[in-house]
């Protein structure tokens, strides 16, 4: 009984289970969908580039000529300012003290002028008196000469103290200029993009790694597009270009060509390592973002596609096998 029916039944079950295993095993798990849909080139043939949004004035990192501690900040992040509006001020107490000293020195100099004037008048008078004597014998020649030279010296002294006055005036003016220079002003109309200096912080003169104030005009925004040097020849200034915002490809904007950066630069890698060797060089193309109503900010990355009518030449590229040969020769 067992051998008669059990084995065939088991065998049928076995085959059934095997088929079930096959079906179960061949089921594929659907792939994970992208969190955000990637930008798809809107043109038939296009050159792709990575763009970074910037101000149309380029991003200006405002510096100070005189180092010092910041005592006053007139703007906040995002403030819109006109050209020559003050941005921040450095500590000025030493300059005010200097101004007081120099003003006092000016007053001293001016007082000396009066002294010199009076003494010149006195000596001139004495000399004139001596000369007007009718009897020349009443005074020795020596005495007369002495009076003449004394008057001349007094005249020279007056000129000297007058020069001292203008020197003191210039010094006062210098201090006043310095007082003006410690107020850092906006170079042109624009917006404060970054404010990295705070009250009480020391602002060094010269180029700083993080700008004290990052400044630029953001209406309209520009976009700086990196195109690999190998594709640079395909970029046409008059070709339409579209930029897609990262994170939402529905946010896209047509671009207006502004200029090529005529110098092809090594690509900056995002890893930020200073010892990094140059990967490749990129041509930078500057476009203006035509739509201003979109939530696009300076410093943001965008995917850019530039239409290219040039077909990619089949003959221009090196066939794969040939390339391997040259590689081997090199190694």
């Amino acid at each position: 009984m067992i051998t008669k029916y059990l084995l065939p039944i088991l065998a049928v079950l076995g085959i059934g289970f095997a088929v079930f295993t096959v079906i179960k095993g061949s089921k594929t798990i659907p792939p994970a969908l992208p969190v955000v849909k990637p930008a798809i080139p809107p043109f038939k043939s296009s050159v792709a580039g990575a763009g970074i949004v910037e101000a149309n004035t380029e991003n200006i990192s405002v510096g100070t000529l005189i180092p010092g501690v910041v005592t006053e900040i007139y703007v906040s992040i995002g403030s819109k300012v006109k050209a020559h509006d003050p941005l921040f001020k450095l500590d000025d107490r030493d300059l005010w003290a200097q101004l007081a000293v120099r003003r006092a020195a000016l007053r001293v100099a001016m007082a000396s002028v009066r002294v010199a004037k009076e003494s010149l008048a006195d000596l001139k008078n004495q000399f004139a008196l001596a000369e007007s004597l009718s009897d020349k014998r009443a005074m020795s020649i020596e005495e007369l000469d002495k009076r003449r030279y004394a008057a001349l010296v007094a005249e020279a002294k007056l000129a000297q103290v007058r020069a001292d006055v203008s020197s003191s005036k210039a010094q006062v003016k210098e201090t006043l200029t310095n007082l003006d220079r410690i107020i850092v002003r906006a170079p042109r109309d624009g917006e404060i993009l970054q404010l990295k200096i705070h009250l009480g912080e020391f602002a060094p003169a010269g180029i700083t790694q993080t700008p004290l104030v990052l400044f630029g005009n953001v209406k309209p925004l520009n976009i700086r597009v990196d195109v690999d040097e190998n594709d640079a020849w395909r970029v046409d200034a008059s070709a339409p270009a579209v930029a897609f915002l990262r994170g939402n490809r529905e946010i896209k904007t047509p671009l207006k060509f502004v200029r090529f950066e005529p110098y092809v630069i090594p690509k900056k890698s995002l890893t930020g390592d200073s010892t990094e060797r140059v990967d490749t060089r990129v041509l930078q193309v500057i476009y203006s973002i035509e739509r201003s109503d979109l939530p696009i900010y300076a410093g943001q990355q965008m995917d850019v596609f530039i239409e290219s009518s040039e077909p990619i030449p089949a003959s221009g590229a090196i066939p794969q096998t040939k390339q391997t040969e040259t590689d081997e020769v090199k190694s």
Binding site: T3, K4, L7, P8, L10, A11, V12, L13, G14, I15, F17, A18, V19, T21, V22, G25, S26, T28, I29, P30, P31, A32, L33, P34, V35, V36, K37, P38, A39, I40, P41, S45, S46, A48, G49, A50, D226, V227, D228, D231, R234, G247, K267, S269, L270, T271, D273, T275, R277, D279, V282, S308, P311, I312, A314, A317, P319, Q320, Q323, T324
Partner: protein, 384 residues
Amino acid sequence: MNFIALKMLVGNRARYLSIVIGLTFASLLITQQSAIFMGLMTRTFGFLTDTALPDIWVMDPKVQYIDDIKPLKETESIRVRSVEGVAWAVPLYKGLLKARLSNGTFQTCNVIGLDDETLIGGPPRMLQGKLSELRRSDAIIVNDIGAAGKLATVLPDGRRVPLKIGDTMELNDHRAVVVGICQVQRTFQSQPVVYTTYSRATVFAPRERKLLSFVAAKAKPGQDFHTLCQRICKTTGLAAYTKDEFKKLTIRYYMKYTGIPVNFGTTVVLGFIVGIAIAGQTFFSFTLDNLRYFGTLKAMGATDRVLLQMILLQAALVGSIGYGLGVGTASALGTLLGRTELSFLLTWQLLLVSASAVMVICAVSAILSMRKVIRLEPAVVFQS
């Protein structure tokens, strides 16, 4: 007549069982070993099975298989995006990085860096957390097997506490926070799989000039994959493969440079030989045992044709039973051990292969037996 044949077969219980057991083992060995082999081979490109969204994989022309990473320049993903017919192309990092666990031990992990924006190439099944949480700082997603196994914390009493959401670990001296647990295909080297974003992966990775492992691209609708691959090759000078080509490339490498196919092939051949040796021989001696009955039947006027039919029927019956039991046992073993490190993939091709192997064994045994029956003189019955 067929009834007599069956009666004859089942009646001799010992012989019947040993034939069936022989065939069962033969088909079990053949099916199970080749299923493990298939499983192992699919494991080599498990990453490609998980990352099914891209159609085309672009890499260095010298890449031999999937774990043979020859990094590219970072701008190559933009260059691929510039090729006509490409809908999108995203950078992908894949590499082995050292993780330091809380108890101080080191574990090599298979780290996969996804495009920061789209996170294309993510794990197909998330058990906990969401893929989009990778956007958080220092975030990583770990596979369930890795989290519960090699990356788990071992307590002093030997218990393992699996890695869970919110736990931190060190990847190459950088802090990493687990934000999700996913399920992926087991890897060939069975390392834990860690997903993160591309830029974070480049921070985790040791300093190298180039870090981009692959460019994963999708064709625009209506594009022929092969023409597109050729176009990408011509334009960028890189190698471009479709998903299936890349899988084949990987398998070919393992076939050529590892002993795996030879090892498994040997076992399959052994199974076949064991099948012939046990089942064939038993079937033959079974026929010899029953020669008297065949002689009787022949003397009663049964033609050779009828007798042959009887033998064939017997062979077919034991063959199917043995086969059924064999593949059933193999599948059961595979299912039972499916949760362990054992790789087991049964495909319909394998079922056909083992079926034909069993058929060959039965045919050989039947032919041997038939010769005996045809040569049989009916007089034999009366000799004893």
